[in-house]
């Protein structure tokens, strides 16, 4: 039940910049994902909010109150750590009770709340076991339970399900999303898995090297990546990027084999540029079509409902994702046609996006 804000927050450890000049506002009741590769500063953000680290500059505001220098206990946030941080010498039940006992909640109330949380997370039968005797998934639930048992201003979670196997992860993320909607609390969720972030977040923030690169809904981020970095990291299989140059409103690929008939960007000053098109926006045909690139089939990756066709054009391998099951032969000459309406144009220097498909053409 709180809005969480960071204003101009920076933090360095010695010479290493952990995060720099971060401005984020997470409104009440939002499922907010922080996404980025390892060591991009996303965990640092949570630690700053929690008060486990002090920012070198900037302000931390929780529920309208300046909390920059308050100790963690005063901030009323709850946290699920990546390694879960269950107390190994306590049973699951004692772990759940801990936050309430420390806040001197009356015993009857503690019993009621623990029972309720245990029920919600289906761990009632596990309360007498110590964490060492629980499975990964069960430990997960206990850790989440410990953060739910109180009524904090917001929940913070640092890759809480990354240790689980793929199947369980898919289930847990849906369950978390359901819990957040039922509890109606702000949830800040850190992950390095783009699919996880996209599937659960109301809004997401993409970080790179301690800076925020883009904040937006998953759709915005996917369809209109602000920089080439965002385009690369969101979406799987990853986007295809082709280097070239924009000159007098025309794009020329550095590798002549990759000449793509992309629309002109009339308002763009000359620059080295990169165009990107996502694998699902590419068609692979045996016949020549307008704006097609000639290539050879490099590898085939059938995945059941869809397949990835890797084709080699010039020195590059381009990835296309086609529905159904592929009917190509290795080495076979083919023609690939990107959907020009969904191409993105980035400046090579800095990676800023200056246009997408027809938008670019229209100026």
């Amino acid at each position: 039940m709180a809005q969480l804000e960071l204003h101009g927050v920076s933090k360095r450890y010695g010479n290493i910049v952990a995060v720099e000049d971060i401005d984020i506002t997470v409104p009440d009741n939002e499922f907010f994902c922080i996404f980025g590769p390892p060591a991009c500063g996303k965990t640092t953000l949570l630690r700053l909010w929690l008060g486990l680290e002090m920012p070198d500059s900037g302000e931390i505001i929780i529920n309208g109150q300046a909390m920059t220098h308050q100790p963690p206990a005063a901030r009323n946030l709850s946290m699920v750590f990546q390694n879960l941080a269950l107390f190994p010498h306590m049973t699951a039940g004692q772990n759940l009770r801990f936050p309430l006992v420390e806040r001197k909640v009356p015993e009857t109330e503690i019993a009621r709340r623990v029972a309720q949380v245990a029920e919600t997370l289906h761990i009632t039968g596990l309360l007498n076991k110590v964490p060492a005797h629980l499975s990964g998934g069960e430990r997960q639930r206990v850790a989440i339970g410990r953060s739910l048992v109180r009524d904090p201003a917001a929940y913070l979670m640092d890759e809480p399900i990354s240790a689980l196997d793929a199947r369980l992860r898919e289930e847990m993320r849906v369950e978390l999303s359901r819990l957040q909607r039922e509890l109606k609390h702000t949830l800040i969720y850190v992950t390095h898995d783009q699919e996880e972030a996209m599937s659960v977040a109301d809004r997401m923030c993409i970080m790179d090297g301690g800076r925020v690169v883009q904040v937006g809904t998953p759709d915005e981020v996917y369809n209109f990546p602000e920089t080439v970095y965002v385009a690369e990291f969101v979406g799987s299989p990853p986007i295809n990027l082709i280097d070239g140059r924009y000159e007098k409103g025309r794009f020329t690929a550095t590798d002549p084999a990759l000449t793509v008939g992309v629309p002109d960007a009339k308002n763009q000053p000359d620059c080295d540029a990169v165009i990107g098109f996502r694998p699902e926006d590419i068609q692979v045909n045996r016949e020549v079509g307008p704006g097609a690139i000639s290539a050879n089939v490099y590898e085939l990756e059938p995945l059941g409902a869809y397949a990835i066709v890797d084709v080699q054009a010039g020195e590059r391998v381009i990835r296309a994702q086609i529905p159904g099951q592929p009917q190509f032969e290795l080495g076979e000459p083919v023609h690939v046609t990107p959907n020009l309406d969904r191409c993105h144009f980035f400046e090579s220097a800095g990676g800023r996006r200056f246009g997408t498909g027809a938008v670019a053409a229209g100026g």
Partner: protein, 288 residues
């Protein structure tokens, strides 16, 4: 490796190990059997080795505990009871001192980064030959009237074994995942409360190891007790080596009995904490 090679290798292995075991055990066995030998068997003639006592006797133990026995004509002015008591009291008290101070200090350094030079300063305590520093300590102790008192001896033992407890606990604390303590902080604990409600229960087993390890060290000292005790708080090793008399010369059997009593506790405790011995002996630098 073929099967025959394998067999040869195993045979070699066992031969070498058993040889080593015999060499390692002879001195201990000799002392242990000597403790049960009557006076006549204490020394041996060239012609015959008496490995096992021919006429086993508890006379040696009787002698050191009661001061007299049928076998020797002399009586002992001081029995072993008091040194054993002294060793126990002093080793326990000094262990308590070293472990409490060391644990607190190690946590302060490991967690809050205060006292950056402390770990190395503490280690220095261990570098010096005790003999070289003991002169001023002796002067100081006599000036403070600490010589031959149990707390005087405990204090210096506690200081001398502080490096072990400090470094051991420091490496154990370094290994406690930070997030577990942070989780307690987020849930409303103060840092001191985290220390005794979360961290200490988590390192219970290592703490016990440290206690036993430090106890062994304190129990084993000779030189400090030699310098700082006179009569009342003489410890077992000092007492043992004073077991000579003008009339009969070396009291071999009595000494062996005393030595056996002194040797048993560290060996037993050492086997109990075997798993952590490497860590203890290398100040936590190596794990097993």
């Amino acid at each position: 490796m073929t099967a025959t090679n394998r067999l040869w290798f195993e045979a070699m292995r066992y031969t070498l190990i058993v040889a080593a075991l015999i060499i390692f055990l002879i001195p201990i066995a000799w002392m242990a059997t000597l403790a049960f030998k009557p006076v006549a068997e204490w020394t041996t003639a060239i012609s015959e080795i008496t490995w096992l006592p021919k006429n086993p006797t508890l006379g040696n133990f009787e002698f050191i505990f009661t001061g007299e026995t049928d076998e020797v004509v002399i009586t002992l002015p001081n029995t072993a009871t008091r040194p054993i008591f002294a060793s126990l009291v002093v080793a326990s008290l000094s262990t308590l001192l070293a472990v409490v101070v060391g644990t607190l200090g190690a946590y302060g350094v490991s967690r809050f980064g205060v006292g950056k030079n402390l770990p190395l300063s503490v280690l220095q305590l261990r570098l010096f030959p005790p003999m070289a520093v003991m002169i001023p300590v002796m002067m100081m102790w006599s000036y403070l009237a600490l010589v031959d008192t149990f707390w005087g001896l405990s204090l210096i033992y506690g200081i001398v074994t502080l490096p072990f407890s400090f470094w051991l606990m420091k490496t154990f604390f370094d290994e406690v995942p930070r997030e577990i303590e942070e989780a307690a902080l987020v849930e409303g604990c103060s840092q001191w409360r985290v220390f005794y409600r979360v961290t200490i229960p988590m390192v219970k087993a290592p703490l016990a190891t440290t206690v036993l390890f430090v106890f062994i060290l304190n129990w084993s000292d000779y030189i400090i007790a030699l310098l700082l005790t006179r009569k009342d708080w003489v410890t077992i090793p000092v007492y043992m080596n004073s077991l000579n008399t003008a009339m009969t010369g070396e009291m071999y059997g009595a000494k062996a009995a005393m030595g056996l009593i002194a040797a048993i506790p560290p060996v037993v405790l050492g086997i109990i904490i075997q798993k952590h011995l490497v860590r203890g002996l290398t100040f936590g630098a190596l794990k097993q």
